[in-house]
Symmetry: C2
Amino acid sequence: MDGKLYAIGVGPGASDLITVRGARIIGELDVLYAPAGKKGAPSLAHTIVQEYVSAKTEVRTYHFLMQASADDKAAVWDEVAQALKDEVKNGRKVGFITLGDAMLFSTWVSLLERIGRQPWLEIVPGVTSFAAIAARGVMPLAMETQTMAVISCTVSEDELEQTLRSHDCVVLMKVYGRLEQVRALLHRLNLLEHALMMADATLPTEQCWRDLSQSDSELKLPYFSTILVNKHWNTSR
Amino acid sequence: MDGKLYAIGVGPGASDLITVRGARIIGELDVLYAPAGKKGAPSLAHTIVQEYVSAKTEVRTYHFLMQASADDKAAVWDEVAQALKDEVKNGRKVGFITLGDAMLFSTWVSLLERIGRQPWLEIVPGVTSFAAIAARGVMPLAMETQTMAVISCTVSEDELEQTLRSHDCVVLMKVYGRLEQVRALLHRLNLLEHALMMADATLPTEQCWRDLSQSDSELKLPYFSTILVNKHWNTSR
């Protein structure tokens, strides 16, 4: 049995921010599984790697509906995990791609829970979105003995506040729909001048907000919006 | 003035875990600045990118002595920052490489503090060491609404404990010299079976410890040793 499964983090968005290894492996695949958020919508992960995909590679787009019930999601994971294992059993080289890094806030982990550690599995790490935001926004993350936390704005305000108080540097993910609450919290903690917001980092649609002190009710925040906070760095710098 | 400065994260260790963009830019440089920890020692970052460096590129290795006094370090940062700015002023394409990602626990940030945001500066993100460890150890980091913290074991035991209690997933960096204390703490918090230690991930010298419950006084821990803790994952899995 020569089948092999590769889980590949394709990076934050720009095609050339995938790793050299990821790009090479994608070019050698028999089958590529690409996740998409909505039915009918193109897979962003697939768009990113398109230039590396060989004409002989079969591409399958799977839809992981973010709004679906836990049971419906589990059924899709079960199905895709089984499909991937079957490909390997049939001796094929199969790839599963995922935005950012493969192991951090990644759909791939739900499949890994079902597949487990296997000699025929290789995970290829990728550049995380917050590393790309830090680079594009020219705002460093933690250094030396400083600490960093990564947290979704979907948690309770208490937990957000505790995390902002405890760490030098905080990555606030999933700001979408919660900007005003988060802005108010940052204001209360005197952190607005240490915060930067970015959407779609490294994509042509990239947007950066260096001054979060002004409320903007007209602001149409894209889905992939993240705020970086670094107490040792001033955003106006 | 056509000079440009690129700060490039070269990834965790394997040459092909640099980004496609990083590898391409390195091949086009007039000058490459590579940091090394010890005088006379080769630069690991330089070794990683060697295959991408063109014969026409000048390579300069700078020594950032980790044991040096704050003043001595600052003098080296000042000197290198000035040298990089001079290269740009002279119209050259200059690169500064750094292990892992350029903006996270990176020597580059000390230079960025001196250089500031500039139209001639581009920062190229890289794969962080903990993403590589998660991939190689087949141990996921945080997902969905879970939170992750990254912390150096050089902080106080109280802060380590607080961080381990507050987050689903914790990356413990700089374990070197502190393994027994960290092991005891993980034992006390019932986290040993959720912890994995790795050194030199993705390098030929990579080592992985999946069972930290046994003390091993003979253990010669390499300098780049990191422990991942994920409360929702069992290491023996």
